[in-house]
């Protein structure tokens, strides 16, 4: 089977699939290209694993996948965070089956091998049986294997299945500032995962979701039925002289004008990263929470707080696996399952030192926008699903990326800017896609 796939891969002509202004439909529909992506993109890039606050104490663990491979993030007794393959060194069984928990050590359910939380072997029943066999605990293969590289940036833990490549800070480049701004919004300068998670099954290719986040030509169309309806119902039901409830503050901006979204702007960086918004976004006009502002000013001083709040980004994409909304402290994580199946996880964060109202608003946002059972997410998912089906037709092999082609503004240091309605984010992601997929690429 491996041989067959290898033969097929030689036939994949990346220059034919991804051009500067268009992309071939098969990148969304061909299962073999998906397998190739798992190896070349998801097997090379820094993939978001979890947040350090999910493993606060030694013994705590959190499980997820990288390129469909089960991994476990742990906090060892040395206080450090590790990312290990969730696999017993003996016969391969997953060592933990729960999403998260706290243990003294890993104990394999099958033959009782035990490992420390940094992956080193602790004990094997009847270990003497291996004497003189050539297999023994001195062999590093007797440990749980660590993912080749893992590192964290302000608590956000990423890992790479590849030994080589840029370090995390270099790779994050211009979008590290989005993590900074999210953490700086905490009076204590730190974030904490809290409030639970959604796992939303999408019957569509992972790239549709990642592209959509900085596609600013869709909200006023795809979300008209929820956002415009919310405005109309609000107008009818609520007194005009009272402030809008948070729920309507959250839903209404999705149907702002094309000009509004154009002015938000798009910022693109190397490795497929980017964000929309900057000085303003759909999150910029939420009501003030006076107690929060007071605590921020006390922590940072008036000038610095102004600077922190002057940054108001919409979605930041850490291509290919993670996306955050710093201004509302939510995160969506991408987990590809198959060419037409993706799981999107949603997380909320507490700004440490901030009043609870901030967390409550993040949770409300997540309920209203990211839940599989709500009014906004299902219309996005419907669009991806229809793309997945539509691209199966032989109507045309191509998807256009022409909008505002060659009109990008080069801001230096690999930072490119365009107005919101541009296809910049789309083109930039495929530039990275092609670089990763190319032999010897990143």
């Amino acid at each position: 089977m491996t041989v067959l796939i290898e033969q097929r891969r030689k036939e994949i002509d990346l220059d034919k699939l991804v051009q500067r202004d268009r992309v071939h439909r098969s990148v969304y529909t061909d299962p073999e290209i998906f397998e190739f992506e798992m190896e070349r993109i998801w097997g090379k890039a820094w993939i978001y694993v979890g947040h350090e606050s999910q493993v606060k104490e030694p013994g705590q663990y959190f499980t997820t996948t990288i390129a469909r491979q089960p991994v476990v993030m742990t906090r060892h007794t040395d206080g450090k965070v590790y990312v290990l393959f969730n696999r017993c060194a003996h016969k391969g069984a997953e060592l933990v089956g729960d999403t998260c928990g706290k243990i003294k050590e890993f104990l394999c359910c099958y033959h009782g091998w035990r490992f420390h939380l940094d992956g080193t072997l602790l004990s094997i029943p009847l270990e003497k049986g291996y004497d003189g066999s050539g297999f023994g605990r001195e062999d590093p293969k007797s440990n749980m294997q660590r993912v080749p590289r893992f590192d964290s940036y302000r608590g956000f833990v990423f890992a790479s299945l590849s030994k080589e490549g840029p370090d995390l800070k270099t790779w994050l480049g211009g979008v590290a500032s989005s993590i900074d701004n999210m953490a700086d919004r905490a009076p204590d300068g730190e974030l904490e995962v809290t409030g639970g998670a959604f796992r939303y099954e999408h019957d569509s290719n992972w790239k549709f979701f990642v592209e959509n986040l900085n596609d600013l030509m869709h909200p006023m169309v795809a979300h008209q039925s929820s956002s415009l309806t919310a405005r109309i119902v609000g107008k009818k039901e609520l007194p005009a002289d009272k402030p809008l409830p948070s729920a309507l503050e959250i839903l209404s901006p999705f149907t702002e004008s094309y000009t509004f979204f154009d002015d938000m702007g798009l910022h693109a960086f190397d490795y497929g990263h980017g964000y929309s918004g900057g000085k303003m976004s759909i999150h910029a006009r939420y009501s003030d929470i006076p107690e929060y502002n007071a605590r921020m000013e006390k922590a940072y001083g008036e000038e610095r707080v102004k600077e922190i709040f002057s940054v108001n980004r919409h979605n930041t994409v850490f291509y290919p696996s993670a996306t955050i909304k710093g201004a509302i402290q939510t995160m969506r994580v991408v987990r590809p399952i198959a060419v037409d199946k993706t799981i999107i996880e949603s997380w909320t964060f507490r700004l440490k030192g901030a009043p609870d109202e901030l967390l409550h608003r993040s949770i409300l946002y997540c309920n209203l926008i990211n839940s599989s059972a709500n009014l906004v997410g299902p219309d996005d998912q419907e669009a991806y699903r229809r793309q997945q089906l539509g691209l199966e037709t032989q109507g045309s092999d191509w998807i256009t990326m022409h909008r505002d082609l060659d009109k990008d503004e080069d801001l230096g240091d690999g930072h490119t800017y365009a107005r919101g309605s541009s296809d910049l984010a789309f083109r930039n992601q495929f530039r990275a896609w092609k670089a990763y997929m190319s032999e010897g690429g990143r």
């Binding site: 639970g196 008209q224 309806t229 967390l359 997540c366 309920n367 709500n374 419907e382």
Partner: protein, 167 residues
């Protein structure tokens, strides 16, 4: 099962069950405005996202709606641009194991637990949802009103496909 008290409890259980069946029927028959009327002004609909979730404020929920958000959702049902509702999903709710957990005759409040199985059908796919309902009811003028309907899916913290209608 012959004392007057037993007969009264039996009759009350029947009334409560009929109310729950009626509520489910309104959902399945898409009689939204009648369904909306079953809630008190402050009434909430809550589908938690984790087992034993203590409240809808400090943890995400699949759905947590007050009267205003219910109005938004129901108004959206009639919107021609609600793409994930094309074609409009159909549902069938089955209820059983109806148990009255608390009944305060003086206050008119009833807490009733039941089990449900619901299928949502749309575009050749049946999605199944199962779990527990807790209805927090109050009697007003001889009729029950819902103070809270809590629908706890058995897999509330699991992976879910899109769903648009009420569990």
């Amino acid at each position: 099962m012959s004392s007057e008290a037993d007969m009264k409890a039996f009759a009350f259980h029947h009334r409560v069950s009929q109310f729950l069946f009626h509520e489910a029927r309104l959902l399945d028959e898409q009689r939204w405005s009648e369904w909306e009327q079953l809630f008190t002004e402050e009434g909430t609909y809550w589908a938690p996202a984790t087992p034993g979730q203590p409240d809808p404020i400090n943890h995400v929920s699949l759905i947590y709606e007050n009267a205003l958000l219910r109005k938004v959702r129901l108004a959206r049902f009639g919107n021609p641009n609600a793409y994930s509702l094309q074609p409009f999903p159909r549902s069938s709710h089955m209820l059983s194991n109806v148990m009255i957990d608390a009944h305060d005759e003086k206050a008119g409040t009833v807490l009733v637990t039941s089990r449900f199985l619901m299928v949502e059908y749309r575009r050749d796919v049946n999605n199944f949802f199962a779990g527990e309902y807790v209805h927090d009811l109050i009697e007003e003028g001889g009729a029950f009103k819902i103070r809270q309907k809590k629908a706890s899916l058995v897999d509330c913290d699991g992976t879910h496909p899109s769903s648009n209608i009420y569990f």
